[in-house]
């Protein structure tokens, strides 16, 4: 599917992202060198870390374009696998969950991506919410340990839902057959990624610049109303301006990016609450070098399925 390269709008879009990244990287470097006292060192490091993660995501995206449909499934499958690994490493499970976990990693997760590749849409849609939801408690019950039974089943199910099911809706965008938009689906994926990640970054930046009133301060000290609204408005504005790359009108594009931003925020808050619950600051904090994937994609995990269904419902109703 190297046809993506012959899609000039996609190339403009992606090229624009890369230019933006070069500029942001330069800003980050500059801030680091001429460190002024208004912005703390850790804020700058955090900003730079996010930019570095963007570069990696761009590489992943470019690779998934180059490798085509199957390639992007494999890439997102690996991402899901790594995210689930990170989640389950830090969320306590018991000895009796061992086989269930084995099935989750090596059967349920790969199957989710296989049925997506095979276009078995119904199976794709029910695999984890229905089939795994029945399989997991059954398998834990058969293993025989009933202590904290419900809690354990819920933990594993939630991990599969977020890291597997939700995230797999991002590459599923590539399979929507939108009339008049055939072969351009990659732009939708890029659109989702850009709006979502920009929202993350801008929420952080606005929060640091003018943030005062905390939202859910018990959960995340970094999240403020100013940051939330600032990020929401500016990322929605950016999303609106990107309407030309999508099948949406500018107004529809505004609605879509608004939804992505709200869901991105929801993903961030929920994951923060989980982190507080298990007593860590970041998923990446404890498991330094290999961690941090979940910290970056938590917002994407929540935004992807809803965005997918909105697009499917309004633009490709017969899938």
């Amino acid at each position: 599917m190297l046809t993506a390269i012959h899609d000039p709008k996609l190339m403009w879009f992606f090229g624009g992202v890369l230019c933006l990244l070069v500029i942001l990287t330069a800003i980050g470097r500059g801030l680091k060198r001429r460190h002024n006292s208004n912005i703390s060192r850790s804020t700058i490091d955090n900003f730079n870390a996010q930019i570095a993660a963007w570069w990696k995501m761009c590489v992943v995206f470019a690779l998934s374009l180059a490798l085509g449909r199957i390639g992007s499934l494999v890439l997102f499958g690996i991402l899901s696998f790594l995210a689930l690994r990170e989640y389950l490493t830090l969320v306590p499970t018991r000895r009796g969950d061992h086989r269930t976990l084995f099935w989750s990693f090596f059967v349920i997760m790969p199957l989710q991506y296989c049925v997506l590749g095979l276009h078995w849409y119904i199976v794709f849609a029910i695999m984890i919410p229905v089939l795994a939801c029945i399989f997991i408690p059954t398998s834990i019950a058969v293993a025989g340990d009933t202590a904290h039974f419900l809690e354990r089943a819920a933990k594993i199910q939630f991990g599969l839902m977020v890291c597997g099911y939700c995230l797999s809706h991002a590459p599923a965008l590539l399979q929507l057959k939108i009339p008049g938009f055939e072969g351009h689906d990659a732009r939708l994926l890029l659109y989702l990624g850009i709006v979502d990640q920009t929202n993350d970054l801008l929420q952080y930046v606005w929060g640091k610049l003018i943030g005062k009133n905390k939202i859910a301060w018990r959960v995340s000290p970094d999240k403020t109303w100013e940051g939330f609204l600032g990020g929401l408005v500016s990322a929605t504005a950016l999303g609106t301006l990107l309407w030309w790359a999508t099948p949406f009108t500018p107004l529809q594009s505004a609605g879509m990016s608004f939804t992505i931003c709200i869901l991105g925020f929801a993903g961030g808050v929920v994951m923060s609450a989980i982190k507080r619950d298990i007593g860590i600051k970041d998923f990446g904090g404890v498991i330094e070098r290999r961690g941090g994937i979940l910290d970056r994609i938590d917002s994407l995990c929540f935004a992807a399925p809803i965005f997918f269904h909105l697009v499917r419902f309004y633009f490709a109703p017969w899938l």
Partner: protein
Amino acid sequence: MNEGIHPIASLLAAVARGITGVQVQWAGCEPDERQRIYFANHTSHLDFVVLWSALPSEIRARARPIAAKDYWEETSVRHYLAENVFKAVLVDRGTTAKSKSHDEAKFVGRSMIEDLTAALGERNSLILFPEGTRGNGEKVGEFRGGLYHLGLRRPDVELVPAYLENMNRILPKGEYLPVPMLSLLTFGKPIQVEPHENKDGFLERAREAVSSLRRIGPA
């Protein structure tokens, strides 16, 4: 003893690292070629391979695991792995000695220390799991006496505590299929047997040195 690393050992180490994604932290000392006894908590068959693979290759070539004779001589595959691949020092862990008389048990214990001292020699390091058996990962079990006697015998050898995290969740006792969770390995500050320190006091201190290195989960 042959100085080279067996190719199967390198292969298994690479596989174990891949599955466990182990992240190594030298918190209390640096990797060093001097003679050491690394002692760690024990919850999984992967423990030794992971700990061993975490050592730099110069050190790895001369680090030998101490393994239970009764278990590792049971089948020919296990025996081959222990003897030829990892050049393990096989010892009688005393589960069999329990049924014997007191004197006999003492004799077995003494000959084990002899074997271990001989295995250390002038250049080798040892990897030891003083609990003597795989635990469930919740708490570090009581240590057996070998570490104390070795420490007395060879005060020049550093005793380095290490904590392996999550290994019991990756491949617990009794399972044969691993779940690829991430593990952490932390090396702590070397300890030694203090003058006039009794055996139980030292062993408790050593156990504490290992369990204090835990990074996630209940402290």
